[in-house]
């Protein structure tokens, strides 16, 4: 399998210069470490996501970048400048808060102009900047509205405009979409991505929603229990998770026990019960832990083989459950020798939604879809 290149999703070329450097940052509260020895580089102009379940330390990290919290040890620099001892109000970062934190006693314009007031730009320039920012978030004409008269989506746009108008080096977004309903959230994902490409500012997004992170980011850091588990592009994270925890968090995955037969620099040969002997790529981060490993395959990478169709690699089993989801069907297939049945996601174009429970079927797969993970 060819080496997965770090392919930027944006049309706007990113530089390789570091914008944020996080060096061995730990934040402890007594014995508890909210963030444990995190090291991370976020590049200039990149849309970067911190992804993880609540309590994983992602918000702590974001708040330390913003200056609302300080590392117990380690250092953070933004734009090449150390942030140590610099309070939040003098950092080149701006934040979109989870609650949006729209000042309720000010109207939209006044909210957006809040930070500009201190820069003493003069009335004309200030107004121009406010108008420009409102236009960027499609709120032109709503400047006189009170914060209390806005919908959730509009409040979010005001929060964005208010931060962007400051022309920060880095825009920090703390779960900005979590308060919106599903449809609006998906729409805002697209808009946020577009906006980021238009303004070219480094965005750092905190989210617990894997789809959000996958859809918007250039790169993602997946975090668990205060530690950074993996930093990579969305595709790499999804397809080649470094461990079961990451794999599981990014969506459903079938796990199969495997015995390591042979280990080379770039590949692994393993024996499994259901899939037999398989040769797979060895992930860069793979560190062997004893003689066994886990093999993972995403449900959509298994496909039903109809009639006499064959595949070079296939497993046979019996459908034990079928769940209909509109455009796809979810099949649970029992494979002789595997202790847990496989989940299979199949599009409904060929009638997967009509396969009766109890049918014996064959599943085809691409060995490249199998990813080896250390136990």
């Amino acid at each position: 399998m060819p080496e997965q290149s770090e392919r930027p999703q944006s049309e706007r070329p990113q530089t390789d210069r570091a914008m944020i450097e996080i060096r061995k940052v730990t934040r402890s509260y007594g014995a508890f470490k909210a963030l444990d020895d995190a090291t991370l580089t976020i590049r200039e102009g990149e849309f970067f996501s911190l992804l993880g379940p609540s309590g994983c330390g992602k918000t702590t990290l974001l708040r330390m970048i913003a200056g609302f919290d300080n590392p117990t040890s380690g250092s953070i620099s933004v734009g090449g400048q150390s942030m140590e001892g610099i309070p939040a109000n003098r950092r080149p970062t701006n934040m979109v808060f989870q609650s949006y934190a729209i000042f309720p006693h000010l109207n939209v314009e006044q909210n957006v102009a809040y930070g500009l007031k201190r820069l003493r730009l003069g009335a004309v320039e200030e107004k121009r900047r406010v108008e420009e920012a409102l236009a960027q978030v499609s709120l032109t004409g709503l400047g006189k509205r009170l914060a209390t008269e806005l919908s959730g989506g509009q409040r979010q746009r005001v929060a964005l405009a208010r931060a962007l108008v400051m022309r920060p080096k880095v825009l920090l977004l703390d779960e900005p979409l979590s308060a919106l309903d599903k449809k609006l959230r998906e729409q805002m994902q697209v808009e946020l991505r577009r906006l980021q490409q238009a303004v070219g500012i480094t965005f750092v997004l905190v989210t617990h929603d894997q789809y959000e992170a996958l859809a918007m980011s250039d790169r993602i850091a997946v975090m668990f229990g205060g530690k950074i588990a993996q930093v990579a592009s969305p595709k790499e994270i999804y397809q080649r998770p470094v461990n079961r925890q990451v794999a599981d968090f990014l969506g459903g995955m079938n796990f199969v026990k495997a015995e390591i037969v042979e280990e080379n620099t770039a590949s692994l040969v393993v024996d499994t019960l259901g899939f037999g002997r398989v040769r797979t790529d060895k992930p860069k981060a793979f560190v062997r832990n004893g003689g066994s490993a886990t093999l993972g395959i995403r449900p959509e990478r298994l496909r039903v083989l109809w009639d006499n169709a064959t595949a070079k690699f296939e497993v046979a089993g019996k459908v034990v459950e079928r769940h209909y989801f509109g455009e796809i069907t979810h099949l649970i297939v029992e494979i002789p020798g595997l202790e847990k049945p496989l989940s299979v996601t199949e599009t409904n174009d060929f009638g997967a939604d009509d396969i009766p429970v109890g049918t014996s079927i064959r599943l085809g797969y691409d060995p490249e879809a199998l990813v080896a993970m250390a136990d």
Partner: protein, 305 residues
Amino acid sequence: MTAAAEGQPVFGMTRARRNALLQSESVQGFALISPTFLYALILLVLPILVVFAHSFWTQDYLTTDHTFTLENYRIALTEPIYRDLLWRSLYISLTVSFFTVILAYPIAYFISFHGGRHKSLWLFLITIPFWTSYLLRVMSWKVILGYNGVLNSGLMGLGIIDEPSTALLYNSSAVIITLTHAWAAFAILPIFVSLEKVDRTLVEAATDLGDGPLRSFLRVTLPLSAPGVLSAALIVMIPTVGDYVTPKLVGGKDGVMIANAIQAQFGKASNWPLGAALSVTTMLVVSLMAGATVLIIRALQRLAR
């Protein structure tokens, strides 16, 4: 597919983290509240301790004898006049809190369940008289119940009675009526708040399970609003035991309460230690009564289930 993400265990704050947070926060929080806290210590706790201390001393005209004695308590508990006053005060405050709660409950229920858009207007209407001077409200009852008062002249005007009744004013009933009126709002608010917390779907569930309106009220709404009833009863009972103005203005000889006796010890009689002992006794007795009320209402609450 989403099951994996949603099923992910949530990493809550551990105890260690919470403790550390507490430490940094507690210093600031405590520093901020300390002026107010000190004020309450100096003007509330210290005075009550001083009263407590005084109650074990004796006074000889202007000098205070600091030898420990229970003599004041003996007088407070055995002298018929103080015993009677205490009993009457307890009786009056119990009666008053009973009536205020009984009268207030339907109003609180009405506002909570049927107030609709006008909830806060109703509450405002009910609280406004409460914000007017207590003294004036008591005074207005004197005007109403007096010999030459509104009620007598009104009843005579209607031909119901021939001559003014003296039975209206200057007795414990007048005190009870006046206090019930004066404390009405205080009883409504806690009941209202507890009724607001009653999940409406619970009432619907009871109805769905076959309870009629009365049964669902008795089995669901009333027990769930019991904490409000309890605080309403206490919030009326405790202060009324020590009421001074009402008995003085409308109580007459039959309506004198313990507060008047306490005042006398600090005024004309000038026996501070006895006044202090009477105050401490009143506080203790009212605490006992409050405790008993808590137990009774809790028991009733259990019974309703």
